[in-house]
């Protein structure tokens, strides 16, 4: 986690293990999201069911990471960068668990949408989901490299998801008013879109955690023009 090794080598191993587990969890969450999107695009109910069945694995990751973090806090009393990394580890694991939950929710709705032919709104949802997937992949890279610039880029992309979501909601409201027979379908689409929008928010929270690990706060740096705090201000 730092360019210098800790004097107590077992402490370094525990910190490395926490980071490795988080990266594994991130990869698993990313796979869940990718599969959910694939199921949505191809209307593949079997793949959707696989996503739902794999969700407990993500929850197990979170439990393991929580346990590791609590152990480090109790036994090592981490300070400074180490402390921020452990605290952020707990938060990132919780965000990834929620992201995977939403991916499973998207998969649940795939089965409800299998007869729907509403290309325009579905296209928009798929676009949101693909942006979210790209953001998740980028934020996990940012976490691995502790690269705040990449994290800030991800943080900014969430606005695009929000914009598409607003656009989609307006369209669906209009469709519902003129095509009341398909209200159930439109409602399902809103649920799926909502899942994608929330996934974007949770990814943004991970980006903030990456920033926090490096700077020790989240409230003052992200709004600066270049997105990075003045050094040692």
């Amino acid at each position: 986690m730092d360019d210098r090794k800790h004097i107590v080598r077992s402490y370094d191993r525990e910190l490395d293990l926490l980071k490795a587990r988080l990266e594994e969890m991130g990869q698993a969450a990313e796979e869940q999201l990718a599969s959910a999107i694939e199921a949505l695009v191809t209307r593949d109910n079997r793949l959707a069911r696989d996503v739902i069945n794999r969700d407990p694995r993500i929850n197990a990751f979170q439990n393991e990471i929580d346990g590791l973090a609590v152990e480090i806090l109790a036994l090592r009393q981490p300070m400074a960068h180490d402390l921020r990394h452990v605290i952020s580890g707990l938060k990132i694991a919780a965000e990834l668990e929620r992201i995977a939950d939403y991916a499973a929710n998207v998969a649940r709705h795939v089965m409800d949408l299998d007869h729907v032919c509403l290309e325009k709104p579905l296209d928009l949802i798929i676009r949101m989901a693909k942006i979210a997937r790209g953001m998740l992949s980028a934020v996990l890279d940012a976490y691995q490299a502790l690269n705040v610039y990449r994290a800030i880029d991800v943080w900014k992309q969430d606005k695009e998801i929000d914009r598409i979501y607003e656009d989609l909601l307006s369209r669906l409201r209009l469709y519902m008013s003129v095509d009341s027979q398909n209200v159930q379908t439109y409602t399902n689409l809103i649920f799926v879109a909502r899942c994608c929008e929330r996934i974007g928010d949770h990814i943004k929270n991970i980006a903030e955690s990456v920033y926090y690990i490096e700077y020790g706060d989240t409230d003052s740096g992200l709004d600066l023009p270049d997105g990075v705090k003045k050094e040692n201000a």
Binding site: D2, R4, K5, H6, I7, V8, Y11, Q77, P78, M79, A80, H81, D82, L83, R84, A145, L146, N147, V148, Y149, E214, Y215, G216, D217, V228, K229, E231, N232
Partner: protein
């Protein structure tokens, strides 16, 4: 295009936060406080040829606990020993710079170190009660400094000091017993009471808990927090957890340099100097 390229290369160099470089020995952080009780400016200490403290400047604020941390030999004990001229007793020791207490230079020609050491008291690593009764341990200072007019006044000073040191309830019925017969933690609180008895303004503590068990340590730490309301305290400690628990400001020393000083919460969660970060995360050396 050229501009874009230079931005890209700047990015790749600065993926995250940059700490002040290990080679840079300028003090990071604000050395001043709004209401200083003691001010130290450009303090240098030499033991013969050895330069033990290098240009250290630091304020010690009224009613604050400031913790000095750093590896062995970093100069933290040497520094606080300058604050009541304890280094005067070491023949080879030479101190330069300016140290004031309430604006007055404590190294001035007209300063008598005996009352100075009452004003700036000291508690040591190992409890060192006098081989006298509990009562006389406390009464000794007020007697030699003439702080009590009669026995009743002296009794009151002894009782008040023991109450403030959180020891009264445990010893009030055994005041004639020897101080050396108390437990380690009690002896240390007796020494704190002895320091308090001569009405100090500043209390210096040089690893006051390193010889104590965790419970006795917790009692002393609770006492330090209580004493802060009335006194200014500078504590040297090897325990970073103790520094984080008891102090409001922390100063990190390294090889005689004051590397970083700042609010304790900031020092332990996001220090600005790489050497501080190395030390508090255990990556030192």
């Amino acid at each position: 295009m050229a501009e874009m390229k230079s931005q890209e290369s700047a990015r790749s160099k600065k993926d995250g936060r940059t700490l002040v470089d290990r080679e840079n020995r300028q003090t990071v952080g604000d050395i001043t406080v709004e209401d200083p009780r003691m001010t130290c400016r450009d303090v240098n200490v030499y033991y013969g040829e050895k330069h033990a403290i290098k240009n250290v400047s630091l304020d010690i604020g009224r009613n604050e606990v400031v913790a000095m941390i750093g590896p062995s030999g970093c100069g933290k004990s040497t520094f606080i020993r300058c604050l009541n001229r304890m280094n005067d007793t070491i023949e080879s020791c030479r101190v330069s710079g300016e140290i004031t207490l309430d604006g007055k230079d404590i190294y001035g020609k007209d300063i008598d170190v005996v009352p100075l050491r009452a004003q700036v008291g000291m508690v040591f690593q190992k409890p060192n009660p006098f081989p006298k009764s509990i009562y006389d341990n406390i009464a000794y200072g007020p007697r030699i400094h003439g702080l009590a007019q009669n026995k009743a006044e002296l009794d009151e000073i002894v009782e008040t000091s023991l109450i403030k040191a959180g020891l009264w309830e445990e010893v009030k019925d055994i005041m004639d017993h020897p101080g050396t017969g108390l437990s380690g933690g009690q002896q240390q609180r007796l020494c704190i009471a002895r320091t308090i008895a001569v009405s100090p303004e500043v209390i210096l503590m040089d690893e006051p808990c390193s010889a104590l068990d965790p419970i006795a340590t917790a009692v002393i730490e609770d006492l330090i927090d209580e004493l802060r309301k009335q006194y200014t305290i500078a504590i040297v400690t090897h325990s970073m957890q103790q520094a984080s628990r008891v102090s409001q400001r922390t100063a990190y020393f390294h090889l005689g340099d004051l590397i970083e000083v700042g609010p304790t919460t900031k020092i332990f969660t996001r220090p600005n100097h790489q050497l501080t970060e190395d030390y508090i995360t255990g990556r030192f050396g």
